[in-house]
Amino acid sequence: MKLKKKIVTDTVQIIASQPMTIISGTFTNNKAFNKGGSIYLDFQTLGLTTSTFENGRAKHGGSIYFRQISRFYKF
């Protein structure tokens, strides 16, 4: 999943189940009731460059919520 120069306003949340790359994204005034005001990432990789997150609100992760674990902990 790739987003380039995407402007997202109001309440929008991206739930990623595949590796995601965001370049020059602007996320403004996004809110989530619980996790990840703008982005909720579920066990995937995020590439995030030259993006702006402003006025995000959530209980956990005002802008981004990463739900990731590492192989290291599976030993």
Binding site: L46, S51, Q68
Partner: protein, 130 residues
């Protein structure tokens, strides 16, 4: 006593920076987060701008530099937090550089927790690959 003993042995036998690289190699989900701005993001419970469920070190491995955090906070005053005591084993230098840009952050707590965590990780790594 056992933990302290093993930890001391690790410091004696293994180069610190090398070991951190080896641990990072085993992480499953590398992220590349660079040159981003997080401004006025607020979480009522945890992770003003960013919350990582388990281990924040995974968030910052790879090329994770030059991110700015302005007025981002949770109820503890943290802009970035994870599900356990903060893990920043990737680089203490990056940690210090980042924290300086985050207002209302308890420097000493981040650094102390990171240090303790690294020791725990090193012990696990040492025992597993002996």
């Amino acid at each position: 006593m056992v933990e302290a003993f093993i930890s001391d042995r690790l410091v004696d036998f293994i180069n610190f920076r090398t070991l951190i690289v080896l641990i990072d190699y085993n992480l499953a989900y590398p992220n590349n987060i660079s040159n981003n701005t997080f401004k006025n993001n607020i979480a009522s419970l945890s992770g003003g701008a960013i919350k990582v469920l388990f281990n924040a070190s995974e968030l910052f491995q790879g090329e994770t530099t030059l991110n700015k955090f302005e007025d981002c906070t949770d109820y503890k005053g943290l802009a970035v937090s994870d599900g356990k005591p903060l893990y920043f084993i990737f680089s203490f230098y990056d940690l210090l550089a980042t924290v300086k840009e985050i207002p209302n952050v308890d420097y000493s707590q981040w650094i102390t927790n990171s240090t303790l965590t690294v020791k725990k990780e090193l012990i696990m790594f040492y025992l597993l690959f002996q």
